[in-house]
């Protein structure tokens, strides 16, 4: 029996270590060598943007030290080593990575451990250790979109891990923490090299998403070339590293209006004020071009955050003759002051494509 095609692809594979990733038990003083098929699977799945985490028995320091000694440590972005229920550790990993449990897979040689995880977390897909080498062949480990961004996802999550530690050390002073990050947002027109990532964002982003429109690469290529459309991407970085491309806007230009057809921002950076920052830029830009800032909004079960963000950015509902099912239309009144970007982030606006090297 295989997983039905309708289930989401796996975003993180959680590994047992002893007798699953490597051939033996590290606790008993062995220096067990990794199973070659397992090591190959680590690299193959990583190149597809699938993350790896470790949930294993034993002493944390001993196990992670051996993980590093085998040269496999760099492939992992989280580890929980101990003696508690593995289902609890798996749940903690999913929360830390901010992914749903239905996108988590678990591999362990011990049927009792798999049964415990499966009973407590039925949405987690469990595999025996002898399947390690074959996992990359399974459809649930074959995401439709593989981008440069996806392949670097592990590094982003490892960086995020360090940020979270810094945030915990800041003791909850949000302003001081944000100021200490040295945030830089760069907003630039999308270019050919961005299309895969831009399309991926329209598929993967749900909460800070104004209309839920999904654009394929071909759609975006056409819009980039169209004189009456603007496609912008936002990149964010801080002193810890690059968050990559996190935001997207698609604007339709009429002689009098700049209509936001889609605006989205990755939930990873919502707590950095990134959505507000990009919106205030869009409003300023529309006014600078002599157009009224208008946006569409289509409510879903999960995007009320976007509505609140739009409203607090100054967009107010306007009455229009629209049929049933038409998007809500909001506009920033002419007398509404646009907030300047906060002092915690530097905004770089690139007016024209070219000059930037693509990864």
């Amino acid at each position: 029996m295989t997983a039905p095609a309708a289930r989401p692809t796996v975003k993180c594979l959680v590994w047992d270590l002893d007798d699953t990733l490597w051939d033996g038990v590290v606790l008993e003083g062995d220096v067990p060598p990794p199973f070659p098929p397992a090591a190959t699977t680590l690299k193959t799945l990583d190149s597809r943007g699938i993350l790896h985490a470790a949930v294993s028995r034993g002493d944390h320091d001993t196990s992670t030290a051996h993980l590093d000694a085998t040269g496999l440590g760099e492939w992992f972005c989280a580890a929980r080593i101990g003696w508690g229920d593995k289902s609890v550790a798996v749940r903690h990993i999913a929360e830390t990575l901010n992914i749903g449990l239905d996108t988590v897979a678990f591999i362990d040689n011990d049927p009792a451990e798999r049964a415990e995880v499966a009973a407590a977390l039925p949405m987690v897909r469990c595999y025996p250790a002898d399947l390690a080498g074959q996992l990359p062949e399974l459809p649930e480990f074959r995401p439709a979109h593989v981008t440069a961004e996806a392949a670097g996802r592990r590094l982003l999550y490892r960086t995020e891990w360090r940020r979270r530690q810094a945030e915990e050390e800041s003791g909850g002073d949000r302003r001081a923490f944000l100021a200490s990050l040295g945030l830089v947002m760069e907003i630039a027109p999308a270019t050919e090299g961005d299309l895969a990532r831009a399309s991926e964002l329209t598929v993967r982003t749900h909460q800070l998403n104004s209309t839920g429109l999904v654009y394929g690469e071909e759609d975006l290529r056409r819009l980039i070339a169209a004189p009456d459309h603007q496609v912008r991407l936002a990149r964010l970085s801080d002193r810890f590293g690059d968050y990559g491309v996190v935001g997207l806007s698609v604007t339709e230009l009429t002689p009098t209006e700049s209509v936001l057809r889609l605006m989205l921002m990755s939930c990873r950076v919502a707590s950095r004020g990134a959505g507000e920052l990009m919106l205030s830029h869009i409003v300023r830009q529309a006014r600078a071009e002599g157009r009224r800032p208008v946006t569409h909004f289509v409510p879903t079960a999960v995007n009320r955050t976007m509505l609140v963000t739009l409203r607090f950015a100054g967009y107010a509902p306007v009455a229009r003759d629209t049929g049933d099912g038409a998007p809500m239309v909001l506009e920033v009144p002419a007398d509404h002051p646009v907030r300047e970007p906060g002092s915690h982030v530097r905004l770089l606006v690139r007016p024209a494509p070219g000059g930037r090297s693509d990864r």
Partner: protein, 93 residues
């Protein structure tokens, strides 16, 4: 300020102080202070709805009603008063 308003103000101020992990006075504009992101903005709206048993409509989401504890208190009481007399009309507030 009525007794009810004072209690509401006190309660909202306590919620903000706890959630933002710093002292928030009745007239502190926590948006201007850079303490609010998209996530907390929604949390604040949802908290007001749950705690005071009201529905914040699209028209109600005016930053001027939410930017300080005192303004939020006034919004809550206007909303409650509306609910008791007549259906709320869009754009009245």
């Amino acid at each position: 300020m009525s007794r009810g308003s004072a209690e509401t103000l006190d309660e909202i101020t306590r919620f903000l102080t706890e959630a933002l992990r710093r002292e928030v006075g009745p007239d502190d504009d926590y948006f201007a202070l850079g303490l609010v992101d998209s996530l907390f903005a929604l949390e604040l709206v949802t908290h007001v709805e749950d705690r005071f048993e009201l529905t914040v409509e699209v028209e109600d989401l005016d930053l001027d009603s939410f930017r300080t504890a005192r303004r939020l208190t006034a919004f809550v009481h206007a909303k409650k008063a509306d609910a008791e007399t007549a259906p709320v009309h869009a754009g009245d507030s």
